[in-house]
């Protein structure tokens, strides 16, 4: 905490080395949270820049009501929220205009996302999991990302999302339920398709 206070004081005075140090400590957390939520490397980098610009602008207003890490995660989550909401509403609008023939552009789903930090043998499963995550409501997706991927405790994640611990537990419970439901549907469809193909070749 004392180290954080000293670092913040140096950043506020405009010391670039101090800001570089702050960036070095927290950039991975910010980038990885954005990467897990947005599932796109370039967008995650853009969000990382937005977050640190906001930190640079607002650091003098930070009053240590929470830890510096929690505050930075909070800015990251809110920046990602705004970006995700805009993306989802653009997707809905494009879908509606394509129904009426008002737009030639067809909004495609993003290609399967592969997180660079996933162990090789888990890559395929992780890709399916991230696809399932992208279908969750944003608060559930955020709760899951903060707890399961970023490794925050329920208390820390609740502080980041400005909710109570019990609200966060509820979000996690619903997220897991929805994930299981989506995954069972996904594997049922794929299993049926695979079994159908196998039967065809056996008959041949």
């Amino acid at each position: 905490m004392q180290h954080d206070e000293h670092l913040i004081a140096r950043v506020i005075t405009g010391e670039e080395a101090a800001f570089r140090e702050l960036y070095g400590v927290f950039s991975k957390n910010v980038y990885n949270t954005a990467l897990s939520l947005l599932q796109h490397q370039e967008e995650a980098e853009d969000i990382t820049q937005e977050v640190f610009i906001e930190i640079h602008r607002s650091l003098k207003t930070f009053t240590f009501q929470s830890s510096l890490q929690t505050w930075i995660y909070s800015i990251t989550v809110h920046t990602c929220y705004a970006h995700l909401k805009k993306q989802r509403s653009q997707k809905r609008f494009a879908f509606i205009t394509s129904l009426f023939g008002l737009s030639d552009k067809l909004e495609h789903d993003k290609p399967h996302f592969e997180h660079p930090g996933v162990v090789l043998e888990n890559k395929e499963h992780a890709s399916v999991l991230f696809k399932a995550l992208s279908k969750l409501p944003i608060p559930q997706q955020t709760a899951f990302t903060l707890v399961k991927i970023e490794g925050l405790s329920y208390r820390e994640a609740a502080q980041v999302m400005s909710v109570t611990e019990s609200a966060l537990e509820s979000l996690m419970s619903r997220a897991l339920k929805n994930l299981r439901s989506w995954l069972s549907e996904y594997y049922k469809i794929n299993f049926d398709t695979g079994a159908g193909n196998l039967s065809f070749w056996l008959l041949m």
């Binding site: 980098e45 990382t48 992780a126 999991l129």
Partner: protein
């Protein structure tokens, strides 16, 4: 299904691009105006707006003055007619 849910166990943090900090500092520098920054465009626009306002005010003052004279003449004309009609030498106030 459990395998899928557990596939992110042991996930490592990805590294952002090494050039990201440089891009960030460039953007921050662009946002902070330098000490000798004079927003010329803004000053010119304000000056034009003030000139326009002054022009409108001066124009309206001139227009009001011009408009007043015929009214005064009319009043004099009406006064003359009223004196004849009422057979009096006193000026009649119409306002």
């Amino acid at each position: 299904m459990e395998a899928v849910l557990n596939s992110i166990d042991g996930i490592k943090q990805a590294e952002p691009s090494p050039f990201l900090f440089g891009k960030l500092m460039y953007r921050i520098a662009q946002q902070v105006p330098s000490i000798n920054y004079y927003p010329t465009r803004i000053l010119v626009r304000y000056a034009l707006a003030l000139l326009l306002l002054a022009g409108i005010n001066i124009g309206s003052v001139i227009a009001v003055k011009q408009y007043k004279t015929p009214v005064a003449e009319e009043q004099t004309g009406i006064n003359h007619l009223a004196k004849e009609y009422f057979n009096t030498n006193q000026d009649i106030l119409w306002y």
